[in-house]
Structures are given as structure tokens and as C-alpha cells.
Amino acid sequence: MRNQEVISYKMDWITVALYATIVFLGWLNIYAVTYDQTTDLSIFNLQINSGRQLLFIAGAIIIIMGILIMDMRFYETFAYVIYGFIMFLLLLVPVIGKEVGGNKAWLGIGSFGVQPSEFAKFATALAVAKFMGSVGFKMDQLRNQVILFITIGIPMVLILLQKDTGTALVFTVFTLVFFREGMSPLLIIMGIIAAVIFILTLLVNEFYLYGAIATLLMSAIILGKKKWKRIAYLCAGAMLICTVIASVDYVVTDVLKPHQQNRVKALINPDADPLGFGWNVTQSKIAIGSGGFTGKGFLKGTQTKFDFVPEQSTDFIFCTIGEEHGWLGSLFTMTLFIGLMLRVIFLAERQKNRFARVYGYSVACIFFFHFAINIGMTIGLFPVIGIPLPFFSYGGSGLWGFTILLFILLKLDIHRSQVLQRM
């Protein structure tokens, strides 16, 4: 009894409310996707996704209870064990997993299947948080950085083996957490520069880029101080960029698989083949764009309902918002998500120890990555990378994975004053 009182008193109800609203709206939209005016099935019908999603939500509530009942020290103490266990499951997937929709990402027990990759996110977050929260951890030590990158690298590689590029990419967002904890921003900046050059190379003839770089280099040398060391650095940088440019063509044609190449091409010019590789993005944009300012109304969408948009209840669920609820609906949904993320950062910042804070940032950053990539993809700002919109997309593993991620933080937050300060 005492414990429950503490929970209800100290629980951050704002986060819970945001979570509940998003889950509820997601459920309604999953129904809107499956709704068919000719059959008129109930939202609770287990034959359609909305009925099943309700079961997953019920499962999520049980999981939340479990997380809250568990001793708060469990998560830090067993962080590496949990991490190890999930990595083991990921290893098992290629061996005994079953294939669903081209991706071998499922572990099945009978007809029930889960995606370990969805749970790898919170496990990795726990492991990273525990390592960074350990006594005497210093971010600027190279050894520590290497260990951290290995920690996030293992699940990435294991998930890449399942051909689930999208989920693997999620782990790159931990660099943002490292940045928060003192890592030099150079790595992120270089990553962004590489991505920009990559895109530019696809858009513009590479010889123009070489010309532009040469011009920039010359002007930098002439205008700045004429020190040999500086000039050498500039030249090295320019050489590096040129190497990236030269490698892009190789990467696009030889490293990326054909469907991935097409996704990149579709991003650059979706109209080039609107019925071929541009289909997903074209249809997604049509669905969202046709919503107008206020939308067509709940269950009134035609594009999402009639299967014009692929993967509508999972990766492209945002199309339903855009089509049926218009720009206002999009604004409302995005406000909820941004509110949740900012609230999570707020929670992270008020933690008394580093473990909890790093974990909190991991949660926020994982949500952010999913949010940005998923919506960016539906409106044609990012290539089609198949990752779900947290709490919104249809699917049990995803919902449960994100729920665990969030509620471990809430559990830690409840007990934040009980922990020793180890800053």
C-alpha cells in the first residue's frame, strides 16, 4: 500500500497523460485505416488491426504495472544482464527466427511472435546509461568512447544481419546522448556533413562539387592566415570531402541494395517514377496533401483506407492523420510528440544521478529519431526507412518496447530523491 501511494503521488502524470493520449489516438487511426464502409466492422473486432492493437495496449498496461512494481535498483543492477540477454535473442533471430514481410526479425512462440530488435533499444539504453553512470567515468577518454560505440555497435550489426536497416540506424542517435554528456560535437557535425555531401552528390554533378570545393579551399587559403599548418589542415579536409564524393557513387551502386538505392532516388526525385520506386512517397504525399487544412474527417479518408498508401497502419500511419485531420490534426499530433520529448528531457535533467539522466536522454533521443525519420519519410523529406511512429503505429513489439523504454524512466523518476548523488 505504501509503495502504491508513493507511485501515485510521485508519478509524473503529465508524461502518462501524453503517453495515454498518443496511444489512444494511434488506436483510433489504426481503426480508420482498416475501416471499410462496406463491411463496417467494430473498432474492437479482433479480425482487424484495431482490435488486436487493443490487446497490445492491454498487454502494455500489464507491462507498466510490472515495471512500476519492480524495485528501482533492478534496472541499474541488471542493466548488463538485460543487454546481454537481448543481444542473445538478436543472435538467435537469424537462426530460428521466422520471416515476416521480407525481414527475418521475429522470434516466434507458436503463433505469437515478437521482434527482439524493438526491445534492444531500451536494453542498449540501460547498458549505455550504466556504463556512463559508473564511478570515475570520463567521456573524454578514448577507451570509454570505444566501449560506448561497441555497446551501440553490437545491436546495430545484429539487426543489420536481419536486414532491418531502419531499426539499426536508430542506434546512431545515441551519439546525441554522448554529445549531451560531453563528447565533442565534431563526430555529429562530420556525420551531418557527410550526409549533406552524400545527398548533394546525388543531386548535382560531382565535377561541379569538386570545382566548388577547390574554389572554397583557394579562398580560405588566400583570405586566412598563411600558416603552413592551417593550409595543410584545409587541404586535408578538402581531400577528405572529395574522397567522400568519389565514394558516394560507389556506395550507391555497389553497397546499397537496389530497393535502398531506389529509396534514395525517390527522395531526390519522386516524380521520376511515380508508379515505381516513387510509389510509396508519392501516394503518402497525396494522402497527406489531400487532407487540406482541416482534413476529410474521421473515417472519411480515401487514400489510406483504400490501400493506396503502403504499410498504412505501421510505418505510414501518419498519412491517416494528414488525410483525415488535415494540417490542424498534424499540428496537434506533432505537438503531443514534441511535448512528450521535451517532457522526457525535463525529467532526465531533474535526475540526481548520471545513470538516470543518461537513460532519460536515451529515451528522448530514440523517440526523436523515430519521430523525425518516420514523419520525414511520409512527407518526403527523408528516404523511406521503415521504422514505426512510437505508440502510434500498429504492432505489439513496438508498443511494448517503447512503453518499457518510457516507464523505466518514470519508475526511476519516482524514486529520484532516494538515490545517492554520484555526479
Binding site: 462496406t38 554529445f179 487514400q303 498534424s330 520529448m341 521535451l342
Partner: protein, 609 residues
């Protein structure tokens, strides 16, 4: 050391949200393109073709009706997993034919991969059952039902006309925007003239469909759907029995029969010989049959009653007489000595047994010198001392009178392509003589209906009706009731008066009675129980035989029917034409004919090459 970094992360999150909202604002609110794309994705407009109006005869007997017909439409973009072997099997096509069909499909101007385009037309009802069972195997193909024309009788083909797919040229000319490729339109006859009443109004149903083209209910619950409005039924003025009898008589001949109810201008029968079977120009074999019919050297599509222009011949003498009486250059008692070959330097000759006739006698005997003299008095009245000017003034008057008979211009019948004939005017001769002067002696052959005069058979039937009406006519027409109103077009109830006093027509009537009772038309034109007024004519066609021409009306008092008959290359008017005219009158007035020898005579005559 890490201060400010949490703000950076928060700013990045909010910034991404703002960028997304701006982008969303562009595609959702500013760019309207996506809305149209969404509609073309999910909403398909289905045309609801109206039923074309029926065509009935004056007694309510059905002439033209509709039977169902099915087209196969294709939406090329939606065609998936197309099994050409199976398609050929179901639709009874060879692979080669299928290949050509696809080639032609893409060559069409209005072809679009996303809109329904006609792929196959006129699937017969036999094919249809098989096709309907298997259509689901061919996504992207849809069956479109429409109705096609069918005919109860093989009669009146040129008057009724036919319906066929709109041609490219017509589509380009069409300014109403109603038609699109593949639509059907009345091409000739009543079908063309009354197209706007017959066609009805197309309806559109908007249907939702999913990505596979499967129907998912109606758009907005059918709030913006429109129902098709059936075309209006048309009641023609034709008497189907009389029309069929006329065609029976005209069998094997080239020419025309027109029968008019004088008091109303209603056309009771309009026969154009040779004609064609209207059923040939409907259904599956339209194209090949059309080529066959239009290449026929006897020109069955040429509607002779309105389009064939002949010199009027002797019939014109009645008009001359009326005009001369009105101009007071003669009286009914004026006599002219018939000196046979002597007139006008021996050019105008004569025939028959007469020497010094008054007006009635001259008409009865069709005396050429008499009317030569009459025209001379009319054109040279001595109002000017200059013979050229005198003729010009006279001809101007004469032309005005003639035009009041509905000659020299299209009458305005409710059919397309009517010709107007020719009544020479001073302006015409000025052109013909290239500015050189002309006078009576140059133009006298118009006196006896030869020379530059031209008439179409319809004008001659109308002329008979004018005499029957004693001086007026209602423009002959083929439709007496449109749709619910049951009224003809307003212009078909206006009386057009000639410039001739009503009393002079008694003289014409008396003379025409004489023609039938004792004159040129006496043997074959005469009927036992009714007084027929008629006039023979022969249109010369050296070296071939004359066209036989006869106009008549009956009964003399309170006339019920006026007829003109032209039979090409069949000799004098008293023969084939007079026989046919009297048989038509007999049939119409008594419902049957009791003169088998005359009917035999007509049927025996074959004057087609």
C-alpha cells in the same frame, strides 16, 4: 562544460517539428495538386447513359426502339497480371487481333492510362454471359452497358436516319461539350435533327474504389451523383402503312414519293428509292455495312425527296398560270393559238390534240406555246421602253411570286441536308451572262419548267398542298409530337401564304381535275370514288428516258393528301409516277387498293441499272 547542450538538443527537436509543420502546410494547404491526385486515385466517375427516345408513327406504332448493348472499357493503369491467352479465350479474339487492339488503343487521341477508354464495342448478348462470368479475372477492364437502336420495320430509313459513334470531325466541331469519343449521335434524318430531344441527359455516378479498382461504395453517399434523364419520345407524322406501301411500290426504282397532309404540312410518307435496311447500320457490323451502303452506285444514302434537284417540267405551268392571273396579264378565258413548232423560231414545240385552248385547257393539255405566251406577257408588260429593263422588272416580280410558293430556297423541313432548288432572278442572269444584257428571248425556256429552274420533290409535294389549301402551306415536317408536350416545333404550325389570291387556285384545281379525268393523267391517275386533282410532268434527260413526275391531291374538296412522285428514267409522267401517286392516294384514303392491274404495272417496272 556541458551547459547549453541540453538547450541545443531541445532546439533541434522543436526545429524539426517546425520544419515538418511548414512542409505539411505547403503540401496540405498551399498545394492543391494533391487533392486532385487523391480524387483521381480513389474516385471513378461512371457514366449513366440515358435511354434514347423512341420514335413512333402518327398512329403510335413503334418504329425505332432500343436494345441493350455492351462495351468493354479499359483503365490501362489498373490492368494487372494480364493473361492474354485467357483474354483471347473469353473474348474470342486471336492473339494478333488483341495485339492490334492494344496498338489502336494507344494511338487514340483521348487515350489516357488512368481514364476509362473503350477497348471493345458491341459485345453481343451471346458473348456477354461468358464475359460477365469471367470479367473479374481481368482487373482494369469494365463492362459498360448502353442501348443501341433497333427497328420494327425496314421502312423510312432515310427519313428516320441512323445513330452511330461520333466521328472525330464532329467531335472537333461540337461546342456543347456534351460528347466524348465513343458516344453515339444521330447521324442523319430525324435522329440527327432531333438529336437534342432524343439523346436525353447523361448521368454520372461517383464511385469510390481501392488501389485494386474494387468498388468501395459511393462517394459522399451519392450526394453529387446525377441520374440520367431518358431522351424524349418522338411521334412522327409518318403513316407507317402508307410508308411501307410506298417503299413496296418504289422497289427497283430510283426516285421519291412524298405524301403530305395539306392542312397541317405533316408528311404522311417519304420514300426515297433505292433505300437500305436500317438494321444494317446498327449493332456489330456497322462499319463494314456502312462502307457497303455508301459505296453502292445507286446511292441508297442519298435522300432524294430533299436532295435530288430536277427541272420542274410541265408541273411548273400551274405556277406560271397562277402568277399570270395574279399579275392580271391573262384571264381564265385568255386563249392562245397553238401553232406547234412555230413559236420562238420553232424551238418551243407541243404535243397532243388541241389548237386554241383557254387557261384550263392549256393546263389540261400542257400546252407549251400557251405558257410561252403567258410568260412573255408577264415579263414584258411594257412598263419600260427598254426591252432589257422591261424583262428585268417583270422577272423580279415573277421571282417574288415563285418564291412565295416555297421554291428557290430550302423549305425548312426537319431533316438535315435539304436542297433549295433554283428560281432564276435578275441577279442570277446578270451573273450568268457576265454583265452582258439579257431579255425575254434569252430566258423563255423557264416558261415551261425547263431552263434554269430547279426543284426538289419535296417542294413539288408542297406545291400540290398549296393548291389543295388554296394558297398557303405549312412547312412540311416529319415530327408532330416531341416528348410529353406532344407538340411539334413552333415553326411547323405557322401558315405561309403565297402572293396569289385564293380564288385563282380554283382554276388550277379545276384544270388539275381535268388532267386526271380527261387529260394526260386520265387512265392511271383516276380513282372511282374520289375526285383526284393532278398534273403530269416529264423531266427531259436526253438521251436517256425522261423522269416521270406526277403531283396530285385528293379529294378535290377538303383535301386529305397531297402527293408528289418522281420516278427516274421511266418515261412520261402519266405512266409510273401517276400510277404510284394514285395508288398512294387510294391506299391512304381507303386503307387498301382495288386496282391490281395498276399495282402490277408499277411493280413490273424496274428502272435501276
Amino acid at each position: 562544460m556541458n551547459e547549453g547542450r541540453k538547450e541545443i538538443i531541445q532546439i533541434v527537436i522543436v526545429l524539426v517539428g517546425v520544419i515538418f509543420l511548414v512542409k505539411l502546410f505547403f503540401i496540405q494547404v498551399i498545394d492543391s495538386r494533391y487533392k486532385q491526385l487523391a480524387d483521381s486515385n480513389a474516385i471513378r466517375a461512371e457514366v449513366d447513359y440515358p435511354v434514347r427516345g423512341l420514335i413512333k408513327d402518327r398512329n403510335g406504332k413503334l418504329i425505332v426502339f432500343n436494345t441493350p448493348e455492351f462495351d468493354l472499357n479499359i483503365i490501362h493503369r489498373e490492368v494487372r497480371n494480364f493473361d492474354s491467352t485467357r483474354f483471347c479465350e473469353v473474348f474470342s479474339k486471336t492473339p494478333e487481333e488483341l495485339r492490334i487492339l492494344f496498338k489502336e488503343l494507344k494511338a487514340r487521341r483521348e487515350y489516357s492510362g488512368v481514364k476509362p477508354t473503350i477497348f471493345l464495342t458491341k459485345l453481343s448478348t451471346l458473348d456477354f454471359a461468358k464475359i460477365q462470368d469471367n470479367i473479374d479475372e481481368f482487373p482494369g477492364f469494365y463492362i459498360q452497358a448502353r442501348s443501341t437502336r433497333a427497328y420494327t420495320v425496314k421502312a423510312g430509313a432515310n427519313a428516320i436516319g441512323y445513330v452511330s459513334e461520333i466521328s472525330k470531325a464532329m467531335l472537333d466541331r461540337d461546342k456543347t461539350g456534351i460528347y466524348k469519343q465513343g458516344d453515339y449521335i444521330g447521324q442523319s434524318g430525324i435522329e440527327a435533327y432531333y438529336e437534342e430531344f432524343l439523346r436525353g441527359q447523361r448521368g454520372v455516378r461517383f464511385k469510390l474504389r481501392n488501389v485494386d479498382g474494387v468498388e468501395k461504395g459511393s462517394f459522399k453517399n451519392g450526394a453529387i451523383d446525377t441520374l440520367s434523364i431518358p431522351g424524349q419520345d418522338i411521334t412522327t407524322t409518318l403513316d407507317l402503312d402508307l410508308q411501307q406501301y410506298g417503299e413496296y411500290l418504289m422497289n427497283g426504282k430510283s426516285g421519291s414519293i412524298i405524301a403530305i397532309e395539306p392542312a397541317t404540312g405533316e408528311i404522311l410518307a417519304m420514300v426515297s428509292g433505292p433505300s437500305y435496311d436500317p438494321n444494317l447500320l446498327t449493332g456489330k457490323n456497322y462499319s463494314s455495312n456502312f462502307v457497303l451502303i455508301s459505296n453502292d452506285t445507286n446511292k441508297p444514302l442519298f435522300n432524294r425527296p430533299l436532295m435530288a434537284q430536277y427541272r420542274p417540267g410541265s408541273i411548273f405551268k400551274i405556277a406560271q398560270a397562277m402568277v399570270a392571273l395574279q399579275e392580271r396579264v391573262i384571264t381564265p378565258d385568255t386563249r392562245v393559238r397553238c401553232i406547234r413548232k412555230g413559236m420562238a423560231g420553232g424551238i418551243i414545240g407541243c404535243h397532243g390534240d388541241h389548237t386554241n385552248e383557254d387557261l384550263r385547257g392549256a393546263i389540261t393539255h400542257s400546252c407549251n406555246p400557251y405558257f410561252y405566251a403567258v410568260l412573255r406577257r408577264m415579263l414584258n408588260k411594257g412598263v419600260s421602253n427598254n426591252p432589257f429593263d422591261d424583262t428585268r422588272i417583270g422577272l423580279e416580280e415573277w421571282n417574288k411570286h415563285m418564291r412565295s410558293f416555297g421554291l428557290g430556297k430550302p423549305l425548312g423541313i426537319d431533316l438535315p441536308n435539304e436542297k433549295g432548288g433554283m428560281v432564276p432572278s435578275p441577279a442570277y442572269y446578270d451573273r450568268a451572262y457576265g454583265g452582258r444584257p439579257w431579255k425575254f428571248s434569252n430566258i423563255y425556256s423557264i416558261a415551261i419548267g425547263e431552263g434554269e429552274n430547279l426543284v426538289v420533290p419535296l417542294q413539288m409535294a408542297n406545291f400540290a398542298a398549296i393548291i389543295a389549301n388554296k394558297g398557303y402551306y405549312i412547312v412540311p415536317h416529319l415530327v408532330k409530337g416531341i416528348g410529353e408536350t406532344g407538340k411539334p416545333l413552333p415553326k411547323y404550325s405557322e401558315k405561309h401564304y403565297t402572293t396569289i389570291d385564293s380564288s385563282y387556285f380554283r382554276i388550277a384545281a379545276d384544270a388539275m381535275q381535268q388532267v386526271v379525268e380527261s387529260g394526260t393523267g386520265s387512265y392511271r391517275g383516276k380513282l372511282q370514288d374520289v375526285i383526284v386533282c393532278g398534273k403530269t410532268g416529264s423531266v427531259q434527260n436526253e438521251p436517256r428516258p425522261d423522269h416521270s413526275v406526277f403531283i396530285a391531291y385528293a379529294p378535290k374538296e377538303n383535301p386529305k393528301i397531297a402527293v408528289s412522285v418522281y420516278v427516274e428514267y421511266s418515261g412520261q409522267g402519266a405512266r409510273a409516277a401517276a400510277s404510284i401517286a394514285s395508288l398512294m392516294i387510294e391506299k391512304y384514303l381507303f386503307g387498301e387498293t382495288k386496282r391490281p392491274q395498276i399495282q402490277e404495272y408499277v411493280l413490273r417496272g424496274k428502272f435501276l441499272n
